[in-house]
């Protein structure tokens, strides 16, 4: 089984690739457009330098060679959402080439080649009045998306299973997010994937007939569609027939791939050099500066975290999955030495609270210092573990410090000996019969009295101290 992927990622530049319109997601339809991105007569493109920078950063993060000179080409085809009826892309001189990605699947280290990374422009978006294009009376087109910069990443046919394809994509997404060039939201379409797949007999060398699958809108879809396609091709081959070279669409609802067009119907894009843009000369000093500016990449970071903090693979994977979480952890770890506890909090309650609040870590009010303060309150027995969860929710909701929240909610544990003694005496006096049975050895009633004290103190009594005082009193 031979799989290669083509990935499109929208770059998170503020303005579009050839004009100054905003790239923000959504917005009133056709409100973020100008003569350039609408392809009006006479409009000319001007290359956004930040898009080039992001493209180079992506290429460097994927271990590519950055071309000293590349150029733009026109890819010609008619489609209503393509304003100029050609897409400005890069054909035979891509910005980056010959890279590779390392990724893991079930603890095995794998390697896939990256053929090329090139820059191009996004098309608009068709919105059909019915469920699909054929069942629609009319379609509307929103050109807000037209002209958003894209990188297309093409892999070598190095992947050998649907699971590998999915793991590769996850690593790719992580990498692009690490260098902050794309938000990679498959649900918003800012990361998209097409897959090429062919089968060949075990041990064979020649590649079989290739089929392209489009419309893969999630990692799960990539894996499912490839699983389905492998099975379909196997069935075809087992009947002695040949696989037909075609382009197929994944139908998520039905779980099948459907033929879109055969080889004979494939487009002739009539690529030729874009005359409106001069060749793109890339300054190699700039490339070196960008190379130096690259952050630590996901796998090295994961390995370092395992080693440096003595965390397990699962926990380290969790942290290194996002540079933001890893940074948060490492920042907190400078002030708090129990790394396992810290990491467990991040994986457990912090994740849970943020999910419930539908927040991402950078937008959250929780700071590493606030979390450390919270953990110290628990360690110092000022609050209990379960109280700490409430405090965390409040900190995330209000941004106040953990100490302040604890005080405001009146959560500090009462550890004062006299105060606790008074409460213990009060409950013993209130339940003389049970006290007597307890003195006679009915051990489980100690718990009952602890509960009574906790109730009396509205949960604030330090349960350990209460327990000790009770035993002391009952022995008197």
């Amino acid at each position: 089984m031979i799989i290669g992927l083509e990935i499109h990622a929208e770059l998170s530049t503020r303005s579009k690739i050839f004009c100054s319109c905003s790239t923000a997601f959504g917005g009133e339809p056709n409100s973020r457009c100008c003569p350039v991105c609408l392809g009006l007569p006479g409009a000319l493109p001007l290359l956004n330098e930040t898009a080039v920078e992001y493209g180079i950063l992506a290429g460097l993060a994927l271990n590519c060679t950055i071309s000293v000179e590349s150029k733009f080409d026109r890819k010609n085809y008619f489609y209503p959402d393509l304003p100029k009826a050609y897409q400005i892309s890069q054909y035979d001189q891509p910005l980056c080439r010959d890279g590779w990605v390392e990724f893991e699947l079930e603890q095995e280290l794998l390697h896939a080649g990256v053929t090329r990374v090139h820059l191009e422009e996004e098309a608009g978006k068709s919105i059909h009045s019915g469920d699909n294009i054929l069942g629609s009376d009319y379609s509307s087109i929103d050109y807000n998306r037209a002209g958003i910069p894209l990188i297309e990443i093409v892999t070598e046919p190095d992947l050998r299973s649907p699971a590998q394809a999915k793991a590769f994509l996850e690593q790719l997404k992580r990498t692009l997010q690490y260098i902050d060039v794309s938000d990679c939201k498959m649900e918003e379409g800012s990361l998209r994937c097409d897959a090429n797949i062919s089968l060949r007999p075990q041990g064979g060398r020649a590649f079989g007939t290739k089929v392209e699958i489009k419309n893969l809108n999630s990692f799960r879809a990539v894996e499912r569609a490839l699983d389905h396609e492998v099975q379909r091709q196997r069935n075809v081959l087992e009947t002695g027939a040949a696989v037909v070279q075609d382009t197929r669409a994944w139908n998520e609802a039905k779980g099948v791939t459907v033929s879109m067009r055969s080889k004979e119907e494939s487009h002739d894009y009539r690529y030729f050099p874009e005359p409106d843009l001069p060749p793109l000369a890339v300054n190699q000093v700039w490339v070196e500066e960008l190379r130096q500016s690259l952050p630590e990449m996901p796998l090295p970071k994961r390995n370092r975290i395992m080693e440096q903090y003595g965390l397990g693979r699962y926990a380290s994977d969790f942290l290194a999955n996002s540079a933001i979480w890893a940074d948060f952890f490492e920042c907190a770890a400078k002030q708090y030495g129990n790394y396992k506890v810290l990491c467990n909090w991040l994986m457990g309650d912090v994740s849970r609270v943020l999910n419930a609040r539908q927040e991402e870590l950078p937008q959250s009010r929780l700071t590493p210092a606030a979390l450390v303060e919270l953990l110290r309150l628990v360690d110092d027995e000022i609050i209990s573990g379960s109280q700490a969860k409430d405090v965390l929710e409040e900190v995330c909701a209000t941004g106040r410090s953990s100490k302040q929240v604890t005080a405001d909610l009146g959560m500090e544990q009462i550890s004062d000996e006299d105060e606790l003694t008074a409460m213990v005496e009060e409950v013993l006096a209130a339940h003389p019969e049970q006290a007597q049975r307890c003195r006679e050895g009915e051990e489980r009633l100690v718990g009952y009295f602890v509960g009574q004290v906790m109730k009396l103190s509205r949960g604030q009594a330090n349960p350990k101290r209460v327990n000790a005082l009770l035993r002391q009193k009952l022995q008197q």
Partner: protein
């Protein structure tokens, strides 16, 4: 005084010494348009009210001593493929007959910033594809010198407007000779600047690597002045060049002394109308008399210029014109699905010459033909450009014909190939990106203007203008009087 008969420089002098106002001038041209244009057909859109409004503002500025430029208040006409905000921009096509440009072309912004009123938009071959303006889908433009003759093209409306004194000067566009050939047919000076010297932003693209905005004027000094206004870097046009603009006016009196002038012999000169051939020889003698050094050179590769040009131009055009699909603006002819809508819109919206070129260009770019046609054409183009650069090591300018003959009659060139061949002397400058100027030098036996072409190396407009000014003297000596 008939203001509309004056060249722009004279109008400038009059307005400056206070003897006339911009309103007087604009009214004079609008009167002339009302009087003549029914017969000539130069304009597709006349912007009378806006022009008068702009003239009024110009007069106010002048009274208050805050004029915007030397040319404040002097009007101009614009070819209908150069965008003027809020004004129809038809490109001479049914496809864009109802399209109004929502923004100003860079050159139009520059004219407006200089305080110049815009008289209107002029007729042209559809999408600038043609050499006679006969391919305009919207109207017929006649040659003011002889109404049975074509004005040339594709900037035929601009040429006819200036030649019939319906505008003091006009902007055109030159992809393969579309400024110089109509200038030749209408007895005007026509300038095609170096590729990249004037911004193309807002000029509706025909062939992006060849298109250049140019000027049609009564005199070389008018042409130099208009070029001075429009030349310069536009940061929003990536093909516009960041390079200092020299003073063009100051070279006009430099004469021919020491100028190295090249003449190209060879087969291509053999079909010349005898009067043009004679004028060429006399002009060379005149230049030599004025102290120029005349050299003869051969450039056999130029025999391939027409084929090369028509491959590159049509290939780019097939892509540039693909956007007219009925989806966003312009003509839409409905169909049962988008594919049918595209086909019907483009079948009905484009005329025969545009369709012919789109098909040629699509073919040249198609898989399996690209190498043989488009790639090969680009290689020849590079060789032609290199050949010129080598030649311009030895000479400062080249002197030659602009057209093989004076204006032809309507319907006289029904064969497309015959029409294409009228561009034989003009396309080399576009292929190589060179500046070239047509200068009228006299009339032929039929009373039609004839003239000659000066070509210079990239960005050496100064050499071309300097030589053109000498040719102008030559023409005056021969009795040429516009």
């Amino acid at each position: 005084m008939k203001l509309h008969t004056l060249e722009a420089w004279s109008l400038r002098d009059l307005i400056r010494d206070g003897s006339v106002t911009s309103t007087d001038i604009v009214e004079s041209f609008l009167d002339q348009i009302r009087a003549r244009d029914a017969e000539i057909g130069a304009y597709i859109t006349v912007c009378g009210e806006q022009a008068l409004e702009a003239a009024k503002h110009s007069d106010e500025r002048r009274r208050e001593g805050r004029t915007l430029s030397d040319w404040d208040g002097i009007p101009a006409a614009i070819k209908d493929n150069i965008s003027v905000k809020g004004v129809a921009n038809t490109c001479g096509s049914h496809m864009l007959a109802q399209y109004h440009a929502p923004y100003d072309a860079h050159v139009v912004s520059l004219l407006k910033q200089a305080g110049m009123p815009i008289l209107g938009k002029t007729n042209m071959d559809e999408f600038a594809m043609g050499s006679s303006t006969e391919f305009s889908a919207l109207k017929t433009t006649r040659n003011p010198w002889d109404r049975q003759k074509v004005p040339g093209g594709s900037s035929g409306g601009s040429a006819a407007a200036v030649a019939s004194h319906q505008a003091p000067w006009a902007l055109g566009s030159d992809t393969g000779g579309s400024v110089r050939e109509p200038a030749a047919f209408c007895g005007l000076v026509g300038i095609k600047p170096t590729y990249g010297r004037v911004s193309r932003r807002g000029l509706v693209a025909f062939a992006s690597s060849l298109d250049q905005i140019g000027m049609l004027t009564h005199s070389v000094r008018d042409g130099a002045a208009l070029l001075q206004l429009l030349a310069g870097h536009d940061e929003l046009d990536s093909t516009s060049v960041r390079r200092e603009v020299p003073s063009y006016e100051s070279v006009l009196g430099a004469g021919a002394s020491g100028l190295r002038v090249g003449l190209l012999g060879g087969a291509s000169q053999q079909g010349l109308q005898p009067e043009i051939h004679e004028a060429l020889e006399q002009a060379a003698c005149f230049l030599a008399d004025q102290g120029a050094e005349i050299q003869e050179h051969a450039f056999p590769l130029l025999d391939k210029a027409i084929e090369t040009y028509y491959l590159v131009a049509t290939a780019e055009a097939s892509s540039n014109l693909a956007r007219y699909d009925g989806v966003r603006y312009g003509l839409r002819v409905e169909g049962s699905d988008t594919g049918e809508m595209f086909r019907r819109t483009r079948s009905e919206g484009f005329g025969p010459e545009v369709k012919r070129r789109i098909m040629l260009g699509t073919y040249a770019l198609s898989a399996g033909y690209y190498e043989a046609y488009y790639r090969k054409a680009q290689q020849v183009r590079t060789m032609i450009r290199d050949g010129f650069l080598e030649l311009f090591e030895k000479v400062d300018v080249l002197l030659g014909p602009t057209t093989a003959a004076s204006a032809f009659g309507f319907g006289e060139k029904p064969d497309p190939l015959q029409m294409y061949l009228t561009d034989i002397y003009t396309v080399p400058a576009n292929l190589a990106g060179l500046p070239a100027i047509h200068v009228p030098v006299g009339l032929d036996h039929g009373g039609l203007p004839i003239g000659l072409q000066i070509t210079a190396s990239p960005f050496a407009e100064t050499n071309a203008l300097r030589s053109a000014a000498v040719l102008e003297t030559f023409a005056r000596n021969r009795g040429w009087n516009r």
